[in-house]
Symmetry: C2
Subunit: 331 residues, 2 copies
């Protein structure tokens, strides 16, 4: 998926539900005080109360539009890019569009793209192929994730790690700009397909025969297996990615990894000689928000002025499946 | 989404689980004999026994590869295009790839695209943008659907209408060929987002607070509302679609509509003056198989020689969301 088309992230938006500090989580679930920060690296995360995937996504999308000085009438395509869904049917993008201000006055297509934690990167890569300035000029990508409902509270690792939130980006084909997607790539190593899973609730273990059981209907990961795969495959992936580019990973202005886990980020930092403030983290404040982690972190970097027009940004991550994805953009 | 790139459907594959005749369904659920054929137009459909979405998808995909004289090593991208999922996490394409012969020896990306019943058409449209003969040449699109588990057997309309099955296509960028995607388009009218829905099982009504209830965890549709929207929007959509082409709907060699319902197909036939054998139907033998209906019907047309190289094929349908999509290909 290589592209040098003039594709620009015009602006971004974000929605965070109520903040929940780790000491509160620890009290609620009988976890020793300080465990979350020490082992998961998460100081606070945000949990939905009444909010749905659609509600959070719609608010993040509206903010991205506002920050772009555009309206939904300027949008040619809406993509919901994530792993959590309000309903089995219809698709999530239709629900997000329905809940946006003016959503039902627009007839632009609304589709879902899911590569779990990498969904935002995959969607941005696909959008860069679709937008041509003629049939389609501007797209809206929304990653809205509710992880908190799929947690088994007897599992301290996942209970303290995950959070909810939404990030959205307005993406435009713009020949006037220097912005572009330099390169994108993804690899799926499906021998790891069952290493991160919610076993129940789908067709294999349908509700009628499998009533709710926190073990079956919550997210499980074989953390060590996933880390072992990441340790082996990620350096290979990055070597190949940069092999035909005239820059290397540590030349990028900022690097935004998926906020998978404290250990995952630690290993990644050890692999490369990053400069101060080059590698961006949001794990401590948001937890792992599945596909929303990368766009929320990017939105914060833009808002704080840590990434400016002309800067390069490398987004990279692993996801359930097991996939590795990366994308280099000139912002 | 207009494209005239040399994109060719190389070959297709299909998987059908066990056939279940309507009299058997009627006996099982206390439905009057003959009701299914009379009201749903379905004589028989196929239901999974032990098969999963992944299993059926993998078998259809393997057949498509075999019919293309290709192996998984030739594939640059796998897309699962449908509305049913074996698990909430990971994405379905990773599971299909894992279950394919040699799937774990390939590292090609595996992603999901979901626009419910239109997913195959959406995926083919997107693939036509991604394939460029350089970074990516060949893709595998798999639509595998298990509708039978999401049925409320007290609802005769849905119980008799839906079936399970899978269709797959190998799609190639091929400059040597005359085949192409002439044009594709989709519109989402999200005021109809809740007209076809499975209310339970997602984030809004999560399992822990909503134990299995056939009402909540089965597919519901406001059939009359959907038909009213289709009657209004579909002719507009088709008019606009063909307005800048030098052919009209009834010039296409074959027209393959989504097999939504007997009434939906009847209304569509009444709208246009189709020639004999121009409009292709599989509803009587397969029922409505969500996103798998269009590729399974197309696979049968190719196998029976009803569509040959150089022929034009228009695929069109409505989907939950509420969306209308259409695509004209030169096969």
């Amino acid at each position: 998926m290589t592209s040098e088309k003039p594709i620009r992230i015009v602006a971004m938006g974000k929605y965070l539900p109520e903040k929940v500090d780790s000491d509160e989580i620890e009290k609620r679930h009988g976890i020793p005080s300080g465990w979350s920060q020490k082992y998961s690296g998460v100081v606070s995360r945000h949990y939905v109360n009444e909010e749905s995937v659609g509600f959070m996504g719609a608010r993040a999308a509206e903010q991205a539009l506002k920050n772009s000085n555009l309206t939904l009438n300027d949008i040619d395509l809406i993509i919901s890019a994530g792993g959590s869904h309000d309903y089995i049917i219809p698709n999530q993008a239709s629900i997000i569009k329905n809940q946006m201000e003016g959503g039902n006055s627009s007839d632009c297509p609304a589709i879902d793209i899911d590569s779990t934690c990498l969904s935002f990167v995959t969607a941005l890569s696909i959008v860069s192929k679709i937008l041509d300035g003629e049939s389609m000029k501007t797209a809206l990508i929304v990653s809205s994730e509710v992880a908190s409902k799929g947690l088994d509270y007897s599992n301290w690792e996942t209970t303290t790690l995950f959070g909810d939130g939404a990030g959205a980006a307005v993406v435009m084909y713009d020949e006037e700009s220097d912005s572009c997607i330099v390169k994108a790539n993804q690899k799926t190593y499906s021998e790891g397909a069952y290493n991160a899973i919610i076993e129940g609730g789908g067709i294999v273990n349908y509700f009628n025969e499998h009533p709710y059981d926190p073990q079956m209907h919550s997210f499980k990961m074989k953390g060590k297996k996933m880390l072992r795969m990441a340790k082996k495959k990620l350096p290979e992936f990055i070597d190949v990615f940069f092999s035909d580019l005239n820059c290397k990973l540590t030349d990028c202005t900022v690097v935004i990894p998926h906020q998978a886990s404290k250990m995952g980020l630690h290993i990644f930092k050890q692999m490369y000689n990053f400069k101060d403030n080059q590698l961006k983290e949001s794990l401590a404040n948001y937890g792992n928000c599945i596909a929303a982690s990368i766009p929320m972190t990017l939105a914060d970097c833009i808002e704080r002025g840590e990434i400016k027009r002309g800067d390069t940004c490398f987004m990279v991550g692993t996801s359930a499946g097991f996939s590795i994805g990366g994308m280099l953009i000139k912002f």
